[in-house]
């Protein structure tokens, strides 16, 4: 590509949060019409960098220049999304910034009209939005409340919001996290079309494959620094992966062949009825046996939450039966499931996994307050709890200010290790691992995977629910696909067709 003019220049951006240096002296350029991939593993500082560009964070050091309409670079006032928007920078956030009680149209025009003006010209705005939708192929119902839109539609609204403000630079943060493979392809096709028309794009990703397929140029971040960039055409996958991780990739744990034993979990026609589609589970039949890992692949919001709630004991089925270790379940509450030997790793570790203000030691015993090792006659055995916590933290490599510190001081990876320790220490026969490596860097993710494989080798059955298709395929003995609350068998990873799996995740294909 001939050298298009530079439209964006980041120079020496740095940001520190407490003890963590999230970004250090990062510089990069973006040219007109270019699709630049910002690649790095979880925690590398990609989102922080873009948040600084967009004004959500104020950098500690560094500057940003954006080309104005005449193409001249001008300094961008930092720390104000208003300034970024005016300069033509638009951002599609990883966690959508939409007001669910407002319609598509209202979300798009929010903040775009003067707050205290009288004339609003809504009819003209509606027409303009319809034209924009037609031009870009990004459709969403104009007058439907966002609460009722699907995830794909919501993402399109996010993008339309940015384009509405005449964004000349569009930042996409992990855009495919919530899309099926086919939807992701469609999105990139649309984006490529807009880039050809002059839109400059930065997209953040931790998935090497899609970066190689859809970008013109790649910049790699690691531990907050820009460690290198290259044109995609000249990129070498292995070298890039090494750049991301800073050395050789840790050996990906490979589970041994399964020799499945007795069923530890069996759902027969179990279903959950709910008014919201994303909380529904269609009648399903599935089995998890001892010594095997069953992976459930699916895009977020397709019933995984309902399935997880059922297997955690948090929801009671509206019909059908659930059997644990061969016995039908009569009591659906978490305490009963824990007592029966089910270990649960929740999807949202901060919301459901730990009580942040309680200590690490307390969080380790929270599921077994009645245990003789933990309490006697209603009184906590504090010394025993503290000693056990020290041992457990050492055994599971939980790092932090110590077992008597509040759990919220731990990093995400260490909180996950804490939860793993709590769950695995009891040697459960069935483990529910719901998005166990979400938000973790490669090292921490590998550690989690190793523990799950070890548990399987020990004879536990593992139900793995994950949006990361690679993870599901790498760890599972059998794969199921979930879409709109329906679960279907996809087969063993070695033999299944990846494209077919993608279609199943999208609800097409038998």
């Amino acid at each position: 590509m001939t050298q298009a003019p530079v439209v964006l220049r980041l120079s020496g951006l740095s940001k520190r949060f407490g003890a963590v240096q999230a970004n250090e002296a990062v510089s990069l350029d973006l040219r007109r019409g270019e699709i630049l991939a910002l690649l790095g593993e979880n925690g590398a500082g990609k989102t922080t960098l873009m948040n600084m560009l967009f004004g959500h964070y104020l950098p500690d050091a560094g500057s940003v220049e954006v080309a104005d309409r005449d193409g001249r670079l001008a300094a961008l006032p930092l720390g104000q999304p208003q300034a970024a928007l005016r300069a033509g920078v638009g951002m599609v956030h990883q966690h959508f910034t939409l007001a669910e009680n407002l319609t598509t149209f209202e979300n798009v025009i929010l903040g775009a009209e003067p707050l205290f003006g009288f004339r609003r010209g809504r009819a003209a705005a509606r027409a303009r939005l319809k034209a924009l939708m037609a031009r870009t192929g990004l459709h969403a119902p104009l007058d439907e409340r966002v609460a009722r839109l699907s995830v794909g539609e919501r993402q399109r609204v996010e993008i339309l919001k940015a384009l509405w403000r005449d964004a000349r630079i569009l930042v996409l943060d992990e855009p495919t996290a919530v899309l099926t493979p086919q939807e992701a392809d469609a999105l990139f096709a649309t984006v490529a079309g807009m880039a050809a028309d002059g839109l400059s794009v930065i997209f953040i990703s931790h998935k090497l494959r899609e970066v190689l397929a859809f970008s013109h140029r790649i910049v790699v971040l690691r531990a907050g620094r820009n460690v290198g960039g290259m044109t995609t055409a000249s990129a070498d996958a292995r070298a890039i992966a090494a750049m991301m991780v800073g050395g050789a990739l840790p050996a990906q744990p490979r589970p041994a062949q399964a020799a499945p034993g007795a069923p530890v979990l069996r759902l027969s026609g179990a279903r959950i009825d709910a008014p919201e589609a994303r909380r529904r589970l269609a009648p399903c039949d599935m089995t998890v046996r001892a010594g095997e890992i069953v992976g459930v692949a699916g895009v977020s919001g397709n019933g995984q939450a309902a399935l997880a709630a059922l297997v955690s004991g948090l929801a009671r089925p509206s019909g059908g039966t659930v059997e644990l270790f061969g016995q039908p379940v009569t009591r659906f509450d978490p305490a009963a499931f824990i007592a029966a030997g089910v270990g649960r790793i929740p999807e949202d570790r901060h919301h459901d996994g730990v009580a942040g203000a309680m200590t690490v030691a307390e969080n380790l015993v929270i599921e077994r307050l009645g245990d003789p090792a933990v309490s006697r006659a209603g009184f906590l055995r504090r010394r025993a709890i503290a000693d056990a916590a020290r041992e457990t933290c050492a055994a599971y490599d939980v790092r932090g200010p110590g077992p008597e510190a509040p759990a919220r001081l731990l990093s995400g990876g260490n909180i996950q290790k804490l939860i793993l320790a709590r769950v695995l220490d009891r040697k459960p026969g069935l483990i529910l691992a719901n998005q166990p490596t979400r938000g973790l860097d490669v090292g921490a993710a590998a550690a989690v995977a190793r523990r799950l494989i070890a548990a399987k080798a020990r004879g536990a059955g593992v139900l793995l629910i994950s949006e990361d298709l690679d993870e599901v395929l790498a760890l599972s003995d059998r794969v199921l696909a979930i879409h709109a609350g329906e679960i279907r068998e996809a087969g063993a990873p070695a033999t299944l067709d990846r494209d077919r799996l993608g279609l199943m995740m999208a609800g097409e294909a038998a």
């Binding site: 407490g18 720390g79 978490p334 459901d352 996994g353 307050l369 209603g378 009184f379 509040p406 001081l409």
Partner: protein, 350 residues
């Protein structure tokens, strides 16, 4: 530009020093309304101090005033630890007092040694029951307990008024709506001769100690704290949030009911509709000043009681409205709040 960053952990000194600092700040701020009311500020402060510490009797009056505040403060602190916003201590106090009178004015035939314990138990039970309905509504129906407990205060006080003009009315009370006096054996003993401070104080202190031990060292207390910190995580871990809330609610209501028992069976000897000048609401301030710590509640209750007793005395001497006390207490709450912010966040300029 002003930036606000969360601190990893509040500095020890700030956590313990904060409530006394807030109290001092509030006392200092009271100079403004004093000055606006045209009073001699230094003389006013002097009279307040004298009103509390000037004599053994003054101290005993302060302790007498602190007794119900310790109990309503504990009621609030324990409930708030579970994030159960019990604003109904005022009503629960009154219901406890009503139950105490029901049990202790001679209607019940019981041996004398059993009367006082019976009265105490009745008051605690009544308070616990008063809190049951709002707690159930929160646990089962998700109804906000702040408003329900607040509104219940009005209902209960009207109910007590109704009782005092009806079945509980003292026929020898010369027409005033008041209850019959408590039987001698049902009364809580005085602690010292010629002073009004009574055994209710000991009940309060014992309750504070029990609450402290329960919250920090028992599995019950663990569950209460877990539900207060993160109900979703507690539920996920197998803790029954509903049952925990019901338990805490009962304890909280019982404590407030005990405050009513103390006022009726320890201090006044009979029940009128103006038994409490807002002890229930003051208990909330006490709990917040104490940072929800049961032992801290004792200290905070002493402070608030001192403010009320001192301001009363000063007001009689100088003619300044005794609502100054309410002002000072409200200001201390605001100061604690504002100060609590500084403990949790660092403020940076530039």
């Amino acid at each position: 530009m002003i930036r606000i960053e969360p601190r990893e952990a509040p500095p020890r000194a700030l956590r313990w020093g904060l409530p006394p600092l807030a109290a001092l700040a509030a006392l200092a701020l009271a100079a403004i309304p004093l000055w606006l009311a045209g009073a001699d500020v230094t003389r006013a402060y002097g009279l307040m101090a004298q009103g509390v510490f000037g004599s053994a009797f003054a101290v005993s009056e302060m302790l007498t005033r602190a007794t119900p505040l310790i109990l309503t403060g504990l009621a609030a602190a324990v409930a708030f630890r579970a994030r159960l916003w019990n604003i109904g201590a005022e009503g629960q106090l009154y219901l406890g007092a009503l139950a105490a009178v029901a049990a202790g004015t001679g209607a019940i035939d019981a041996p004398p040694w059993a009367l006082a314990p019976l009265v105490i138990a009745a008051g605690a039970l009544a308070g616990a029951l008063a809190m049951a309905a709002p707690t159930v509504m929160k646990a089962r129906l998700g109804v906000d307990e702040v408003v329900t407990t607040l509104l219940m205060n009005f209902v209960i006080i009207l109910f007590v008024q109704m009782m005092l003009e009806g079945p509980f009315k003292d026929p020898m009370g010369m027409g005033w709506p008041q209850s019959e006096p408590m039987v001698e054996a049902a009364m809580l003993p005085r602690l010292f001769d010629r002073m009004r401070v009574h055994a209710g104080l000991l009940i309060g202190l014992a309750a504070a100690l029990a609450a402290h031990v329960a919250l920090s060292r028992t599995t019950w207390g663990f569950r209460v704290r877990a539900v207060g910190e993160n109900p979703a995580a507690a539920r996920h871990a197998g803790i029954s949030v509903g049952r925990t809330l019901l338990g805490v609610g009962a304890v909280s209501g019982a404590l407030a009911g005990l405050a009513g028992v103390g006022e009726v069976a320890g201090l006044k000897g009979y029940l009128t509709a103006d038994l409490s000048p807002g002890f229930g609401y003051a208990g909330i301030v006490v709990a917040m000043l104490a940072g929800l710590s049961p032992l801290g509640v004792v200290a905070a209750a002493l402070f608030v009681a001192s403010v009320f007793v001192g301001a009363d005395s000063m007001s009689r001497a100088l003619g300044v409205s005794s609502y100054l006390a309410d002002l000072i207490v409200a200001l201390s709450l605001i100061c604690v709040l504002a100060g609590g912010f500084l403990a949790r966040y660092r403020v940076r300029m530039g």
